[in-house]
């Protein structure tokens, strides 16, 4: 009985400690916390909001790229403002971005040196208590306690898995350890206490390179970052082991990297289906936000095996044709950002493989990042009467040479068993 009491007491005290700690942290850090808002010049109303925090005494403020993306892409349409804990407003200037890690540095005017957040020089340990700060849904600044749960395993661009409620509007807010040092930046949530943070070292890198040489043009900075990141992704993929896997009577590649995950589906349970189809879909489960209507950086592969059940060949091929007619990219893009797709097709037999395909290759160029393209490849086997193997991929925001290298390797990896 006595032991039980002690336990309860311990619980109480630790809870009390956490609350007290959070209060203390909030009070001390509040002057360096901001709400960042984009004001639509024509209507005079705010069009998007997020959080930010000061990282230098001269008024540099860190936030998410996606909070200020509207301004970065259309500087004439918006003006950028901060709102501090006392309700003061002021203009902000965009200084530097990291579009891959969703970070941005903006600057406010300061008259005197101001308090600011210190970026941590250590990474937290698993289970460590962290405090996320931000302004969710424009409700006012809050502090949310939570736990550090390591880096998300399947991501190509590192993200911290934070157990705690990160809500929209808190984007760009800092996450600090109990020593009030920044260890991450709020970036996304997948609901129910699962939040994702950008590790602080990404911000440290951006901040340091800004101090050395501020970027001349944000567009060019973004273009370089997108190219570099996709180049790194494709070279990692091309260097990785490509395992061969069975899909029906076909052989398909699976790439042995943790950040590409596969899912499968088939209609084997449907007794009245006249066509047996099995689909495997492998994709990079992250993409890069450029604007709310323009995403890039994704990679998706899809394989389909089809087999006719009591079906004439002509009809099988007719249904098969209908299934491959409308392939498209899984991500959004609009006229403002990309050209129309340009396509070519041919009958192709890979040199080392025993398969004949009708292959289609399409590409479209980015209007603002001239070295980047979206590509789409689709190939359909045309050498078996009652079986078909479809292989397909799309990659967004890739340079020409990487695109061709990947396409060649992919084409040589799909065949019949």
């Amino acid at each position: 009985m006595k032991g039980y009491f002690t336990f309860l007491l311990l619980c109480f005290s630790s809870m009390g400690y956490a609350t007290e700690k959070a209060e203390h942290i909030f009070k001390e850090l509040a002057p360096s916390l901001y709400q960042i808002r984009l004001i639509d010049k024509a209507s005079g109303e705010k069009s998007s909001i997020g959080s930010g925090f000061q990282i230098s005494k001269e008024g540099l403020i860190a936030t998410n790229y996606h909070v200020v993306s509207g301004f970065a892409r259309h500087p004439a349409k918006y003006k950028m403002e901060y709102l501090d804990n006392l309700g003061n407003k002021g203009a902000l200037i965009l200084k530097s971005v990291d579009v891959i890690n969703d970070l941005a540095i903006v600057k406010r005017e300061v008259n005197a040196n101001m308090p600011y957040f210190v970026l941590s020089d250590t990474t937290p340990i698993k289970g460590e208590k962290l405090f996320s700060l931000g302004n969710p849904h424009d409700l006012g600044m809050i502090v949310v306690p939570g736990t550090y749960n390591g880096l998300k395993k399947e991501s190509f661009n590192q993200r911290i898995h934070f157990t705690g409620s990160v809500n929209s509007g808190m984007s760009g807010g800092p996450v600090v350890n109990e020593f009030k040092k920044v260890v991450g930046i709020n970036v996304a949530t997948s609901g129910n206490q699962i939040g994702f943070l950008v590790p602080h070292d990404k911000l440290v890198n951006l901040f340091n390179s800004y101090k050395v040489s501020p970027p001349e043009s944000i567009d060019q900075q973004m273009s370089e970052q997108l190219s570099q990141s996709q180049d790194k992704l494709i070279s990692t993929i091309l260097a990785a082991k490509w395992n061969i896997k069975h899909l029906g009577k076909g052989l398909i590649p699976t790439i042995d990297v943790p950040f590409i995950r596969c899912w499968g589906e088939s209609n084997a349970d449907k007794a009245d289906a006249i066509l047996l189809a099995a689909v495997a879909n492998c994709s990079l489960e992250e993409n890069t936000y450029i604007t709310s209507r323009f995403f890039t950086g994704s990679l998706e592969m899809e394989f389909q095996y089809m087999h006719a059940k009591e079906l004439s060949d002509t009809k099988f091929y007719h249904l098969y044709e209908n299934r491959i007619k409308r392939a498209g990219p899984p991500y959004k893009a609009i006229k403002e950002n990309v050209s129309q797709y340009q396509c070519q097709h041919d009958i192709v037999s890979p040199s080392k493989q025993n398969i004949k395909n009708k292959a289609v290759f399409c590409t479209r160029a980015y209007k603002d990042f001239p070295q980047l393209f979206d590509i789409l490849y689709l190939s359909a086997s045309v050498d078996k009467n009652n079986q078909a193997l479809v292989s397909h991929f799309t990659i967004a925001g890739i340079e020409r040479d990487s695109a061709l290298a990947f396409t060649e390797k992919f084409m040589e990896s799909v065949t019949w068993n």
Partner: protein, 319 residues
Amino acid sequence: MELIIEEISRGHKLLGRHKFTQQTVKIGRGYANDIILDDPHICADHITFNHDGDNWIASDLQSINGSFLENSKHSADKHIIRSGDVISMGKSQIRVLFPDHPVEESVTFSTFENLITFTRHPAILISSILLFTFVASFIFYLNSTTKFNLTQLLVPAVGMTLLFALWPSMVSLISHLTKHDTRIMNQLGMSFLFFNLMWVSDVFESIVDFNLSSNWPVTGIITLIPIALAFCLFWLNCTIGFHMTAKRRITVAFSLTALLFGGSYVIQLSKKPDFSPWPSYNASIMTPNFLFSQSSSTQEFIANSEKLFEKAQESAKKK
């Protein structure tokens, strides 16, 4: 001198023809006339033509609505008739001709007359309609994604056949209304022959699409085949159904083809969005026994793909 009087419609279609040898010809609504016209705007005794030894002269008998030379306000009264004159009375028209009036040259039998007679032969007609229905039901069969029975295929196929039979029927009806031979069997036979040829051209187009790579830009030429077929069909429809000059026949067939294909092209064009985030590519495939072309190697395919990047960059520059 003999006088020929033709009753004609406002569109100059012949309604009746009379030949007179006497010196005076009387026209009116009354029963005492040589030509009795059933038009309430014509007087009982309306007009007479008299031969004075040299000329025929028209005299209007002070009719209420008058007689006029065609499409003019010139009264026909006291008019010296020339061969071919058209005179309007009330709402009717007549044409006055002399025996030496020139006639058009004889029309030779169309070289297609044999084909036209061939397609109207009952056996040929029935088999081409049946072939059409069969192909239509085969297409419904290909498009059905679940199990099916025969009636489910036949009903839409027969419906489609009837729908397509509307065209020759309509042409025949127009022939009938314009006082030409109806010749419905000929129209049906010829139309269904061409509808079947359209299927053939479809299959041919699929084979070409399937086999040729995008390095062979023949798709444009291939789409001309159905247009040419449609032109031929309309031309033959005109030949069967109407007496018209060769030039007119070509104009009519050309206009109908332009209306059909131009119309659908304009509709497509108006529906086409300014920008599509979806690629449009050729993914036509057929069973392996229709594959005749040599396959390319991966390297050749990659080399062809490489060329697209520049094209995409060019099109990105166009805002």
